[in-house]
């Protein structure tokens, strides 16, 4: 069973979507490690190391996602989990910006997949199954 670490990054306390993601991924047969809201990059990475996770799925709903996620891939490299999959989704930037541009920014930061605002987790599940080979 593959392990996925999920949580809400930064000073963000949106807890509802986080629970829905946990529920859906659990039902899909993954071992979900939910570190909850107000989580730092280090919290995600530490949990991923201890649980030998294949994927970190970062949620951000309050618009500060870009600041909160900066440097996360570099920290993964330093921590010995350079190859881990990084996903991000939610309202990751302020306002209605061109999503193509936003995706590009996060891709450059080392995120493997970037989900547009309003993407249901059920839609992302296909990507997860594809990337984790199940």
């Amino acid at each position: 069973m593959k392990t996925i670490v999920i949580g809400v990054i930064g000073a963000d306390v949106h807890a509802v979507g986080n629970k829905i993601i946990e529920y859906t991924l659990n039902n899909a047969g993954y071992n979900v490690v939910n570190i909850g809201v107000l989580s730092s990059q280090e919290d995600f990475i530490n949990a991923a190391i201890e649980t030998n996770a294949s994927l970190i799925l970062v949620s951000s709903l309050y618009g500060h996602g870009e600041i909160d996620c900066r440097g996360m891939r570099e920290k993964c490299v330093e921590s010995g989990i350079a190859d881990i999959l990084l996903y991000v989704g939610g309202n990751i930037v302020v306002g209605k910006q061109d999503f193509g541009h936003v995706e590009e920014i996060f891709r450059e930061m080392g995120f493997n997949r970037v989900f547009a605002p309003g993407t249901p987790i059920d839609n992302a599940l296909g990507n997860i199954q594809q990337d984790l080979g199940e």
């Binding site: 069973m1 392990t3 000073a11 963000d12 306390v13 949106h14 071992n31 490690v33 570190i35 909850g36 809201v37 107000l38 280090e42 919290d43 530490n46 949990a47 190391i49 201890e50 649980t51 030998n52 996770a53 309050y62 618009g63």
Partner: protein
């Protein structure tokens, strides 16, 4: 059933406590220096004779039980994977079992680190790492390094369940003294204490006592059953929770300032509030922390070590002392007792510093986080603000002329809003120095131990 003799073989003093269970009362207490280097029974007999003198006659004891922290206490090394998670979990489990954690190691350990385990004369190694089903590679690697280097002391494996079989194979291959336990952190941020604590006690009984020269006395006494700090923790839990129809005191903190360490125990839940978010590794209901750099004698230099030159000068000016000199004096003569008012004044000041600093490290923190949804309170560690009682024990507190001022060091005297220190506790004193003994007695007769604790731990007048 009749008369109990409870013994605490401490690093400096052997303390005796006689109990009569029919009268539900203390018959007397006495102490003398611990003589573990030559023959531990010498000091024991001296103390016993003092006890008989105090009571006025010799007594036949039906049961004689002891706890021990002599010969350096129980020295452990805690090994984990990530510092904030399994390393921290391993450390907390060791402390909760009454051990001193002399070495803390993380990630892949090196040969030099294993050599250090041997040099520092560690008694037991606790090897953790990985949540259940998580990382197994690192902990297997570490077990292998320990085996290859020929480690002789007991090694307790309490890491990822999935690595158990491989680790057992390594134990067998190198003929190690290995034990398999439940994971200290089975899931992220979940702490699992009991399995390892019981194993540590078992090994302590079987092997450590013998290695420390305490076993010799077992012909005269029935059993050495616990490391002393563990006995104090048991007493604190009993006093907090109560037993059957004898009520307890509720949430409490125990402060034990000794010559080498300052121990802090808190018996309470992480928080009572519903409007805070809790971060980090789960906190134990009964939590013990040990400050190896805060103590009245061996560790006196540690008290001022972290102060700046300016702060030291300020203390010297304010108190009209030469604090560095005083600290060295105490370090060089660890058996010294205060001879005059000046010595007492310095000891009092050092004890206040120990209390303040030990609580600084023990208590939790809270911070206000400004989010687009308003202010949110984010807590790490334990919230002790609503603690009802702070209980002081240890020679310096018991003998102090201003006990309240030492215990007040655990409260928020500097009004630091982020530290969750006790805000308005009652102060109590273990005036007869019986907490460890009652922790021992609680293993046989919890109700009796509780009654005596409630009778002899007194509120400061």
């Amino acid at each position: 059933m009749g008369n109990y003799l409870l013994i605490d073989f401490g690093s400096t003093f052997t303390k005796l406590c006689a109990i009569n269970s029919e009268a539900e009362d203390l018959l007397g207490t006495a102490s003398d220096f611990t003589t573990v280097e030559s023959d531990i029974s010498i000091g024991y007999h001296k103390a016993l004779n003092k006890l008989y003198e105090k009571i006025g006659k010799t007594i036949k004891f039906d049961q004689v039980i002891a706890c021990s922290s002599a010969a350096g206490g129980l020295k452990m090394a805690a090994i984990g994977l990530v510092e904030e998670l399994t390393v921290e979990a391993a450390k907390r489990v060791c402390l909760g079992a009454g051990a001193k954690v002399d070495l803390i190691l993380s990630h892949h350990i090196t040969k030099a680190e294993v050599r250090k385990i041997m040099e520092e004369k560690i008694d037991i190694v606790l090897l953790a790492g990985g949540s259940d089903g998580g990382n197994a590679e690192c902990v297997i690697f570490n077990a292998d390094v320990l085996g290859k280097m020929g480690i002789k002391v007991p090694v307790i494996f309490a890491g990822n369940k999935s690595a158990q079989d491989d680790v057992q194979d390594i134990f067998d291959k190198y003929e190690m003294d290995g034990y398999i336990c439940e994971n200290v952190m089975p899931k992220i941020n979940i702490l699992n204490i009991d399995s390892v604590r019981d194993k540590i006690r078992e090994i302590f009984l079987k092997k450590i006592i013998e290695a420390k020269g305490i076993k010799r006395i077992e012909s005269e006494i029935d059993q050495v059953i616990l490391p002393t700090p563990n006995a104090v923790l048991e007493a604190a839990i009993l006093l907090s929770k109560g037993y059957l129809n004898e009520s307890g005191y509720g949430d409490l903190v125990v402060l034990d300032i000794g010559g080498a360490t300052t121990d802090m125990y808190s018996i309470c839940n992480t928080t009572r509030r519903s409007d805070v978010l809790i971060n980090g590794l789960e906190e134990p209901f009964a939590k013990r922390t040990v400050e190896g750099d805060l103590g009245m004698r061996y560790s006196a230099p540690g008290i001022i070590k972290s102060l700046t030159k300016q702060e030291i000068e300020y203390i010297n000016m304010e108190k009209n002392v030469e604090i560095e000199k005083e600290v060295c004096k105490r370090f060089n003569d660890v058996q010294s007792l205060p001879q005059n008012v000046h010595d007492e004044f310095i000891d009092q000041f050092l004890a206040e510093m120990c209390a303040y600093r030990a609580m600084h490290r023990h208590c939790g923190r809270i911070e206000e986080v400004f989010t687009p949804m308003g202010v949110v309170y984010n807590q790490t560690g334990k919230d002790l603000t609503e603690i009802k009682y702070v209980i002081g024990t240890g020679g310096v507190v018991i003998n102090s002329k201003d006990q309240e001022k030492i215990l007040a060091g655990t409260t928020n005297i500097l009004h630091n809003k982020t530290e969750l220190r006790p805000s308005h506790p009652h102060f109590m004193i273990d005036q007869s120095y019986i907490m460890a003994s009652m922790g021992l007695l609680s293993q046989m007769e919890p109700l009796l131990a509780l009654k005596i604790l409630k009778k002899y731990i007194k509120q400061i007048r």
